[in-house]
């Protein structure tokens, strides 16, 4: 068990290292010139050169990369090109907003998705299932920001129930988290549904039925327990989508958060901020996946024995 966890931990560190390298290469190696962009079109070549030197962009790529890695191990993500404040401080101040949006949306997605998935499987082939499948198809096909715009139009502009934008407390969180949660819930719904349907064909279901257990008891007690275990793994996949969605939703609802900082930094070509924001999101993704992996072994006893056998 311990060995497995340590192995996962090492792999995660490797993935974070890889992600840092990839982001660094994309942002610094691709043929864009931040110095020229910051200086503007009218600037003379000398000014551009001066800015480049100021931002340490005139040094070899390898040196920049090494400094970047050393900085990250110390928790230093560099300084913003525009405001000169440390990126880490700025991002950490924004992180809780993104985290709370992601968590509440994830919770909504989990509850909604699992409920609908169970209903859909329970009424497999009949109209509730049909209706849920149809809605799921529509929800995954709607751009999340348009869903958000329509929700604002409906609930804030016409009905006036909820505030349009901003960060003001719980009421302002309802629309953003619901929009994001709704989109992501489809994954849970589909997975729970197909898992339950798979489980229904397992021999143990026949055995329980033969033993004389009622349909409902077999379904809600035995089948569901087995089907829901796998929903935990989905959390790891879905967190990426939640973080991606958060970028759009934060911009749309003009909320604080990592995504919005990143989007604002792009228009100013503030590369360290963009890099830091993406890195922080990737670390979140990796950490959540690590937790999911570890907790999965803990939840599902079959894996524990398997891993022991594998270790011996």
């Amino acid at each position: 068990m311990m060995r497995r966890v340590l192995g996962r931990l090492a792999a995660s560190v490797g993935v974070v290292f890889g992600a840092v390298t990839l982001i660094f290469l994309i942002l610094n190696w691709l043929p864009g010139d931040p110095a020229a962009l910051i200086a503007g079109d009218a600037a003379s070549p000398e000014t551009v050169e001066q800015i480049r030197a100021q931002l340490n962009l005139d040094r070899p790529l390898w040196d920049q990369y090494r400094d970047c890695l050393i900085g990250i191990t110390r928790g230093d993500l560099g300084r913003s090109y525009v405001t000169r404040e440390p990126v880490a401080t700025r991002l950490l101040a924004q992180f809780p907003a993104t985290l709370s949006l992601t968590l509440s949306a994830g919770l909504i997605a989990l509850v909604l998705g699992v409920t609908l998935g169970v209903l859909s499987a329970r009424f497999h082939g009949r109209w509730p299932d049909q209706l849920i499948q149809l809605s799921a198809l529509s929800v995954v096909s709607v751009p999340p920001f348009w869903l958000g715009l329509l929700a604002i139009l409906c609930f804030s502009v016409y009905l006036g129930w909820l505030p349009v934008l901003g960060d003001g407390g719980f009421r302002a969180d309802i629309l953003p988290s619901t929009c994001l949660g709704l989109v992501v819930s489809v994954h849970f719904m589909r997975m729970v549904r197909s898992n339950v349907l798979d489980q229904l064909h397992e021999p143990y279901v026949t055995a329980l039925r033969a033993k004389g257990l009622g349909q409902a008891r077999v379904f809600y007690v035995h089948v569901l327990r087995n089907a829901l275990i796998a929903a935990v793994t989905l959390l790891g996949v879905v967190i990426g989508e939640l973080l991606s969605g958060a970028v759009v939703i934060e911009t749309l609802f003009a909320r604080q958060g990592l995504g919005r900082v990143a989007v604002e930094a792009i228009s100013q070509k503030d590369l360290p901020v963009v890099q830091g924001a993406i890195l922080l999101a990737s670390i979140t993704y990796v950490v959540v996946n690590l937790l999911v992996d570890v907790s999965y072994v803990w939840i599902d006893p079959r894996l524990r024995t398997d891993s022991l056998r594998g270790a011996r």
């Binding site: 610094n28 082939g125 751009p143 911009t251 963009v274």
Partner: protein
Amino acid sequence: MKEALEQVAASVPVATLHAPQDELSEPRVARPSERVVAPAAQSSKPMAAGGSRLQAWTASAAGLVIATVLLWAIAPELIAPYAPTQMDGSAILLAPSSRHWLGTDQFGRDVGSLVVYGARQSVLMAIFAVLISCSCGVALGLVAGYTGGACDMLLMRAVDVWMAIPNILLAIAICTALDPSLHTTILAVSVTAIPRYARVLRAQVMAIRARPFILAARASGASHASILRRHVLPHCSSTILVLATLGVGSAILLGSSLSFLGLGINDERPDWGYLLTQGRGYLTVAWWTVTFPGLAITLLVIAVNTLGDALRRRLEPRGAAGTR
């Protein structure tokens, strides 16, 4: 429901067809469960007929939507009543009427015409993004799945890293590094989609590689390249087709998200996402400026996804490919 019914109904004959082949390659554990499926399929046969009629109907509706949008993309000037650049100072933010069916925007441009002209950007972007991501992803998946060993491990670790960066953020990084243009958007969207193809293809190629006919081809002296091309790739073609179709839908969504964030294609040729960004500022006074471009995206993506699901049902009755 229809999806599952069709799956169940279709799986019975196909399962029996494939059964001898499968038993040769690998004794599958799931065999008893397939027997359990059979009675269920029989009981639902009368409904499956109704389901397939509904399916045929939705598939044709989807085809119609896709054809319409393609027509818009190819020849917008035939359909749009106004030029997309035609501004009318006396017709600013007008509600839908008989003159402007979908209303006008803040510059007095006809929203309907803008939507029709915007189709080209979105369609071009989606087609090229899918072509690029699909060919790269399939190549990666083929190599990783067929060679196995260290090469496979290395490639899959790279894919893990790739997937650890949430896709919009990866696209944002690429859009930041390069100048905004249609090419940049295409590159950004395709790069983020590659791992999905690679993963699914790898899994499928690994299963195919274990089957006896690959060994037979090797024994008769075929080279690895020709086995990949003539034996492995054709077996993956239906998976690739389904993935690519569904990929068009996600490419359109991601591309429009990027232009919504102001990273995509610029002012001169506004695509649907950009129209939404612009309309957002007038949300409270002019609902039509945000509603119709979004509706166009949604309808097109629903149509593409419906088509993808229909293809999946037709080509992969047992849902062999991963759903992600």
